[in-house]
Amino acid sequence: MDTDHREMTRIAEMIHRQLRTHAAARLGQVVAAVQNLLGNLAQLGHLSRLLTICADREWNTAAGNVCDRIRQKLSELSYYSSHVEQTLQGGGRRGFSARDIMADLRQVEEEFDGFRYDRGQKALSVIVGPVQLEDVYLGEFEIRLLLASMGQAGRSSASYRVVAMDPNPAGCNEAVSHPHLSDERLCEGEASAPIRAALAEGRICDFFQVVNAVLTTYNAASPYVSLRDWNGRPCHDCGETMSESNSSTCTSCDNDVCDGCISFCRNCDESTCQECLECCSACGEKMCPSCKVECPECGEKLCRNCLEESKCSCLDESQPQPDEENDHDPVQSTPTPGGGADGEAAGGQTARTGGQEVPPARVEAA
């Protein structure tokens, strides 16, 4: 027996042992589920006896209560029954012999490149590819089957990893090296059931072939990142993927943003993203950080134009308003406890009079 054969035998026996252990655990789950169902059936029997007593003695109200409990028990039985079916799906699988597994390993070696066994990690690997989907080159992938967690109940994706050997990840997400891979985990989609079955039964070659079939197929309806957007970058503001032609650079923060998120400063006309723009407190127009200045009197943020034209509200306050302006606004002549003409308005705040906001300078003049 040569070394290669010994190694193969060792791996096959290990897989076989592993599967037997997990198969026994799954059968234990089946037994527990059946016991649950039987317990509930016994309770149904008890309710049936109670109903017989109620009927014999014509206790109609009590009989109605028992009927309600029987109805409830029936719905519970349906749950426990389907639970037994679910556990049977996992526990009732046929087991392949160590010899079958050995033959499978030989088949994997023949059909795939890069077949190797990592003793430290107890991982069996093959290389597939290079994969190219719709003109997007994704490179080679290593499918790494972790024998220690193989065949366990639950999600099969915990039993293996798919590692990009020559990564060409999506521009907007480094963790996505394939439309159906994220952080080395395959989103199995239609392959979920066959992968789980192959791993539970020790059909190693089938497992690798099914994973390979997913890697070489593109499902445009449900990718992590669509191939159309593969080489795009994420918009800094909204996170959507954008192509080179649909992106602009904000002159303030230097971040790239999409066409939907780019805007411009109403003062200097420079391209600026929405996050960098602020509204001038005087004219209300959007301004970039370079055009934003503070009023030397009150510290209010204004655009350059408004400051140069002395449009800050605090400057209005220092100039008395013509009397005739107040004559037309009787509301302003009635100071209220919330804000009136008692000096609070002199701080540059708006005053509230009769439910309406009135600039402080006006209240003062009233």
Binding site: L186, A197, N219
Partner: protein, 76 residues
């Protein structure tokens, strides 16, 4: 006669099935996978690629694996 059929499509089951003596690979595929095209599958008999007209024998192991399987953002 009885053969082992491993179907990696759909539920991915493996089970023994009865077939009539003289059944070819192509006929077996058409019976078991109606409406499907054999060119969309990797068909193996006893782990080896075979011709469509190969006649199945007692105890053969037939494996059908789709060439293309759609992954998904959320696993089914």
């Amino acid at each position: 006669m009885r053969i082992l059929f491993v179907n990696n499509d759909g539920g991915g089951f493996a089970d023994y099935v009865e077939v009539a003596p003289g059944t070819t690979v192509e006929k077996f595929f058409c019976e078991k996978m109606p409406g499907r095209s054999a060119s969309d599958f990797l068909l193996r008999v006893n782990r080896q690629p075979v011709a469509r007209d190969q006649v199945l024998q007692e105890g053969d192991r037939v494996t059908a694996t789709p060439v293309k399987i759609e992954g998904a953002h959320r696993a089914a």
